[in-house]
């Protein structure tokens, strides 16, 4: 069983990306032997009202059991509590908020209220550090990357909050993990999509220093080809049980409870 916790459907505004339709995503999942994907609606990340993409997302995944919805939650827009309740009712594995794209203070009052509400609803909150390499972004794509300090602040702000952070690199992960108490760090999960493999071996290092149970399989597809996350795992020396932890069991045990 392989779960991709970090996938998107829908067009990207800053460059042409193939395979953004639900069918395209499913084809890529089949190619990469991914059984299930947690899917966000990519266009609405850039909308003033991101939650308006949620209805389409729910409708789309309703036809395909391999896709699970990760609806948008914008705590600065009226109706977010209803969107959060709907996400919990529909069994969404997580809700997502991208404060840097929404124009929100990433650790400000709105985000802290959202963090508390997600904690109370037992709904993990997903946040992306970035979508693309900063060096290649479109000149008009000026949203800053999610700061590590904001993740530390949010995980400290509510003791029931669980955070799933995607597209983080080694430095970011280490800064947050070792800047948190063990109890706080135990409520943080990291996808492997942006962590380097050999010869730098950042992923192998982090599995040793931070612990294998904190990592989940994610790809960032279709903005990134899913083969990259597969290759990272194939280059590690993992026991089958360890690999299963990253590929599905950590997400199931930690985020789907």
């Amino acid at each position: 069983m392989r779960i991709d916790v970090n996938a998107f459907v829908g067009a990207y505004p800053y460059r042409r990306v193939p395979g953004t339709s639900p069918d395209g995503l499913l084809r890529a999942m089949t190619r990469a032997a991914i059984d299930e994907a947690w899917v966000s609606h990519l266009p609405s990340l850039f909308w003033r009202q991101p939650m308006e993409g949620n209805a389409w997302l729910y409708e789309t995944v309703a036809h395909e059991p391999r896709l699970k919805p990760v609806p948008a939650l914008h705590p600065g827009v009226s109706g977010w509590e209803r969107a959060l309740g709907e996400a919990a009712d529909r069994g969404a594995p997580a809700g997502r908020c991208d404060p840097m794209y929404y124009g929100l203070d990433p650790a400000g009052p709105d985000m802290r209220v959202l963090a508390a509400a997600c904690g109370a609803a037992k709904l993990p909150l997903m946040m992306a550090v970035r979508l693309e390499d900063a060096r290649q972004r479109h000149p008009n794509d000026t949203a800053a990357e999610l700061p590590a300090a904001a993740v530390r602040a949010l995980i400290r702000s509510d003791e029931d909050l669980r955070l799933l952070i995607t597209h983080a690199d080694r430095g970011f992960i280490e800064e947050v993990h070792f800047g948190s108490t063990p109890d706080e760090a135990a409520r943080l999960w990291w996808d492997v999509s942006w962590i380097w493999g050999p010869p730098e071996d950042h992923l192998a290092l982090l599995l040793g220093t931070i612990g294998l149970d904190r990592f989940v399989f994610g790809t960032g597809q279709p903005l990134r080809i899913p083969e990259a996350s597969m290759a990272k795992l194939d280059l590690l020396e993992l026991e089958p049980q360890q690999r299963a932890g990253i590929e599905s069991e950590n997400a199931r045990a930690g985020l789907l409870r």
Partner: protein, 266 residues
């Protein structure tokens, strides 16, 4: 056969305490991936005693010497690019003669001087005389100067390649960050520029764009600092290309542009 046209190794004079582990990790990952030959460079002291992209002549020499030693230790799997700093013309030319004479197979130009600068001409002239390719560090669409390097972009490399039509240039790490669409458009009509697929970027659509922009006969497989992403791109291409075309990217294009005899099957 699989040739990595963009590899690096470290050495004792580099600032990293883990340089042996990183070298060993590259070779171990290469065995898993199936890399036959790592064509590598060492950029001076990697910043320890002079900047990575502006290496001093002594550091250039020490790095090249360390790479020659690695090549001697692992003759079946390692080949070298001579790294030079074109601001020191005489030294650069002497290094090229020394290292090609000792078995290196290409020239590495990092970012010590813009590709459009005439100071690169004597380097390229030597590359032509020896029949070796020039791997040129490229910033994919350089909109400004970046600290620590005098980087060139695809358009600037194309200008250099147009001045030296008989030299084969390798545009470094199309996936190394930056606007790869700009680079592909810039080199599209420059037949002596080959595109190396290395870099940490694994953007959806990038490989299709490389095939459309440069054509399968001008693509070279490589890894640079992330072998996982290199392997990912190779796996993707295995689904995208028929076996004959895949072989071009895996090694046949490289075998064509490096000197005859550089690789085992040559």
């Amino acid at each position: 056969m699989l040739i990595d046209v963009h590899a690096h190794f470290y050495h004792a004079a580099a600032p990293r305490a883990d340089w042996r582990e990183r070298n060993a990790s590259r070779l171990a990952a290469g065995r898993k991936i199936g890399v036959t030959i790592h064509v590598a460079s060492i950029l001076g002291s990697w910043g320890r005693t002079s900047p990575i992209y502006f290496p001093s002549p002594p550091d250039v020499e020490a790095g090249n010497t360390a790479l020659l030693a690695l090549q001697r230790e692992q003759p079946d799997v390692i080949r070298g690019y001579v790294t030079v700093n074109p601001n020191y013309t005489s030294h650069a030319r002497a290094e090229i003669a020394r290292c090609l004479g000792a078995g290196m197979v290409g020239v590495k130009l990092a970012a010590s001087r813009r590709a459009t600068d005439p100071l690169l001409d004597p380097i390229c002239e030597l590359a032509r005389e020896h029949g070796v390719p020039v791997l040129h560090h490229v910033w994919q669409h350089r909109r400004r100067d970046w600290p620590g390097q005098e980087a060139s972009d695809g358009a600037e490399l194309s200008a250099l390649a147009a001045r030296h039509p008989r030299v084969r240039f390798i545009l470094a790490h199309i996936g190394g960050g930056g606007d790869w669409e700009h680079s592909l458009a810039a080199v599209r009509a420059t037949p002596n520029v080959y595109v190396d697929l290395s870099g940490s970027g694994v953007d959806g659509g990038m490989l299709e764009a490389c095939l459309a922009g440069a054509g399968v006969e001008r693509l070279l497989w490589g890894t640079d600092l992330t072998m996982d992403t290199g392997w990912a791109k190779l796996r993707y291409l295995e689904r995208l290309l028929p076996p004959g075309e895949l072989e071009l990217v895996q090694w046949k294009n490289a075998a064509r542009i490096f000197p005859r005899g550089a690789f085992p099957a040559d």
